[in-house]
Point group: C2
Chain length 287, copies 2
């Protein structure tokens, strides 16, 4: 089965859990609304690619890990869109959860998806490998190293930019490479750099997209970084400088891939994913 | 060590995790603010009492379970106090997290505490018993059976009262008895009824306190159920009827205790905890 089909099938199975029994209808409806149809599913795709490169000897575990990671990502989008954060009315081209439902249901949707992510993993096995997956996911999601910390930095008067990007954007990419390796019985730690570099590339690409693209192409309002005065690579390096930085990071990411059976195929996947995330450089910036 | 000291020590160890490394300062401060000093710690006390009644052969596991459960409870208080839910400015006699910090930090504090709860459990062991603890906690916290579902019912035009109380209040008491038994190697399922009945008693006692006590004694505004038109036992049965119901439920709870080494001591604990939660009946209602 193709990676993309495995991911969607696993997410679909995960979303059946909260539908059992007598559940409040609107919240039960809001959970799949926040997760389906998906965005690019980049994080679980990376996770699966790393698992495959490492042999993928327990595919049911990589499937669960991929779904759990994407659920956490979707939860973070729902909470980040809330009026007290980004106040975003659009997400993936449709009304964000608090607009389609309500603020209370958006808070609860995020909470429920976080819990569901851990539940999916805890149902996938009873051994050390499964427990390491849960620990890796918790570490890259919570405080002090996860995406909660990343979002928390935005409430600080002085931002540590390195820590901010590592936790805000890179954390779930690190989770992707670590969890892909762990699911296939490899050492997660060795895959940390690849995730961190992909995350850094993604951050720069996101800054470029935000600066260069409009609402229609993004499926959400553009120019948000400049509007909110948020630190970003385009403000720091200019458009051309940010494109150069992006290419350097991607080259570094590919050379950081640990030795493993599927090393060449994985390098190819990173190149392909890069093309999906990197916006086209406007003609006026080309040499 | 006394139960109360074991619980506070375990919570203290759990709260060290988010303080490591370079964390955003305000969020790092808000986490202990939301957890310390605690309320009555009734849920972890019940969990510990059940674990002890079942032999408590792995005290480090019951310690972790008790801390995890209390972290989830505190997370739910932080999110429930948000303006879009109860809009409560006071909690445990001090400003609630969104008042003391901000709404964004209150959302992130709740999220981080939920994740920390699972992280604490995932660090406590790598075996089936630990995994069953994680599954029990997830089940009683998320959708469709956990406290998220309970809160979700408040957004429904038609509330199923049984499902509402089971998930809103009883869920974490069921988690307490189930997890106490699981931590000590017993079957969690058999302890489900005790938790459900304690939860029901707690709900009725809470309704009575809300109806009979003022803000000063509660540490939060009173009369909220009547104000928000929320379903409650006092509106349904009157004050005297609610007291009678409470006593019936507590008798049922004690007789539901499964056979175990510490059965008598556990019955005594339930009686003691009851006295803590049950408000004094005003003289005009006494026979």
């Amino acid at each position: 089965m193709a990676i993309v089909d495995r991911i969607e099938a696993s997410i679909g199975r995960a979303l059946e859990i909260p539908q059992g029994g007598l559940a409040p209808a609107a919240l039960a409806e809001a959970l799949p609304y926040a997760v389906l149809p998906g965005g690019a599913r980049i994080r679980p795709t990376i996770l699966m690619s790393v698992a495959l490169a490492c042999g993928d000897d327990r595919p049911e575990l990589s499937d669960a890990a991929a779904a759990a990671l994407e659920l956490i990502h979707c939860a973070s989008l729902v909470h980040d869109d809330l009026p007290c954060f980004d106040d975003a009315g659009l997400r993936r081209g449709k009304p964000s959860v608090h607009c389609a439902y309500s603020q209370p249901l958006a808070v609860l949707t995020g909470d429920s998806l976080i819990i569901l992510a851990f539940e999916v993993l805890a149902r996938a096995g009873e051994d050390g490998r499964t427990m390491r997956l849960i620990r890796a996911l918790a570490r890259r999601t919570g405080m002090p190293n996860g995406i909660c910390a990343g979002q928390g930095w935005e409430s600080e008067p002085q931002i540590d930019l390195g820590a901010y990007h590592r936790s805000k954007t890179a954390a779930l990419f690190i989770a992707a490479t670590e969890m892909g390796a762990i699911a296939a019985g490899h050492d997660g730690e060795a895959w940390n750099d690849l995730g961190a570099l992909i995350g850094e590339a993604f951050q720069v690409a996101d800054d470029l997209r935000d600066a260069l693209m409009g609402e229609e192409a993004l499926g959400k309002p553009g120019g948000q970084d400049a509007l909110h005065g948020r630190p970003n690579a385009v403000a720091e390096l200019g458009v051309k400088g940010a494109f150069d930085r992006l290419n350097d990071i991607l080259a570094g990411a590919i050379s950081s891939i640990p030795s493993c059976p599927g090393e060449a195929a994985l390098a190819q996947m990173v190149r392909m994913q890069s093309q999906r995330i990197v916006p086209r450089m406007p003609a006026r910036y080309r040499a």
